[in-house]
Symmetry: C2
DNA sequence: GCTTGACTCTCCTCCTACTGGAGGCCGTAC
DNA sequence: GTACGGCCTCCAGTAGGAGGAGAGTCAAGC
């Protein structure tokens, strides 16, 4: 017979835990001195303790363990317990996988935005953009409603998204109310048109080409100034601007944080005919 | 201003939870009626509530959320919180992955054993065994000490194990005390000799071939009877038995459960020269 | 002004699997 | 005599709520 302290050393279970297991009826001492209340464990209990430790490592609850220990003598229903446990664990696993992915995405987005912020000159530049696969929703109304479009794409093609949101503007002039635009998200290869073609989300290749580009830092209602600047640049050089023009949301109100509008970063792109 | 019930509907947070968040100082109502104690939330709190929900979905603790919410106004330390959180989540993810794997392994072993139990005829059979890659520990002593050998292999090559444990017996006769045997575990391709060759664990190909085989059901100390049976069969047919002979532990005392010795299943294999 | 039913309040307990600590009993060694 | 180690019970706390009791409050209908 072991005293609780000795048994604790033998089984690697803390004394507190042994007392707790006794209270819960999971691992009952062989004998309890009715005078002193001292617990004594027979040698055979070591095996039970080992078993409990193993099952706890597999994240079984104490209630399950108690059941397993009692039904264990009978027969072979053990497999069922393990299968149920596997289900439980798989569930948690999936949860954490999702969380981990989301966290990774947020972190890398934030990092990219930070790099872009550092490298930005806020001067008009000329560069080449590649063509890319996009999913887009054509809308008419206020620009501020574009969020609904992004949400719709996210819902249908969420797992294909592979870059920053952009907006295609089809109007020749600035319109407050009935603007024609398209909310777009870049897609990974493999994204395919899903809808029946009721005109909601279309997946297609967006052509690239030579363009003038300007980074705008600040809230969206100050975009006008930057548009003036880039337009002046293009006109000065006699560039012919192709519709639709593009806005790329390098850093805006994210999924989690709305962030500070003064730190929003938007790239304006005018594709030009050469 | 919303009452707690209205705010609950707007934010999809249970009333209980809102009260709890108030108590914890995470989401404090805009105003509390000092007479009635009624909580009232301004519209601006909806955004905060949404943010808290998102962060909870990412498994941040309430304490973290409280900190994030307060430091959020200042600036950009947010990334650090997310990185720490990712670490935490990765840890849990790894834990559950390990558990899930172990559970899968136990379940499939148990299933296999059950199938073997059903299909078993307990008659001597002739069959062909394939050659396989094994890790083995040569030992001298009692058979019952073989557990130490398996443990040693498990420690060094645990992740390569891909089948049932087996025992090679090098003696010509049955020995109680100074038996010569080797505890072996089948290895996946890719397992390579690790040790410096002090003679502990060796990894090598174990040749296959034609053999006579008998399934023994019951405790190990009753193996003798089955050995008698298979030996009689081989002698009768004039087969020449090759050393070492083999025992394959189809079902024995598992990692978790010792199980009922009466249900242990062991295959005896005698390779024969043709 | 009164009643009724829906809301809301505080306070308590419960969940899991322990951990930490206070205060006290028992036996032994010095 | 006392210091020490081992053991006991009981209480509190952890994270993030859920469930419920009993009492007060609000708004609408009569």
């Amino acid at each position: 017979m072991f005293s609780i302290g000795e048994f604790s050393k033998v089984t690697n279970l803390p004394v507190k835990t042994l007392r707790f297991y006794h209270e819960q009826g999971v691992l009952v001492p062989t004998q309890v001195d009715s005078q002193t209340g001292y617990r004594y464990y027979a040698e055979g209990k070591i095996e039970t303790a080992r078993l409990i430790r193993q099952l706890r490592k597999l994240d079984f609850t104490l209630a399950d363990i108690k059941e397993i220990l009692s039904s264990y003598h009978d027969g072979e229903d053990i497999l069922e317990y393990f299968e149920r446990q596997r289900q439980t664990v798989q569930l948690k696993l999936r949860e954490y996988r999702t969380i981990s992915k989301t966290l990774d995405q947020i972190i890398s987005e934030e990092r990219e935005a930070r790099v872009a912020m550092k490298a930005a000159t806020y001067e008009v530049e000329e560069k080449t953009v590649d063509s890319m696969l996009i999913a887009g929703v054509r809308m008419t109304g206020r620009y501020s409603d574009c969020g609904r479009g992004f949400a719709q794409i996210g819902k249908q093609y969420g797992r294909y998204i592979c870059g920053k949101a952009l907006l295609l503007q089809y109007d020749d002039e600035y319109k407050e109310e009935d603007a024609e635009f398209e909310a777009c998200l870049p897609m990974r290869q493999g994204a395919k048109q899903k809808g029946t073609g009721t005109g909601d989300v279309t997946v297609r290749e967006l052509a690239g080409g030579r363009c003038v580009s300007l980074l705008h830092k600040g809230p969206y209602d100050e975009l006008g100034r930057s548009y003036g600047k880039i337009l002046a640049y293009a006109t000065e050089r006699g560039y012919e601007i192709q519709r639709p023009t593009r806005e790329v949301y390098i850093k805006g109100p994210g999924m989690i944080f709305k962030g500070n509008p003064k730190k929003y970063l938007t790239e304006i792109q005018f594709l030009i005919r050469e």
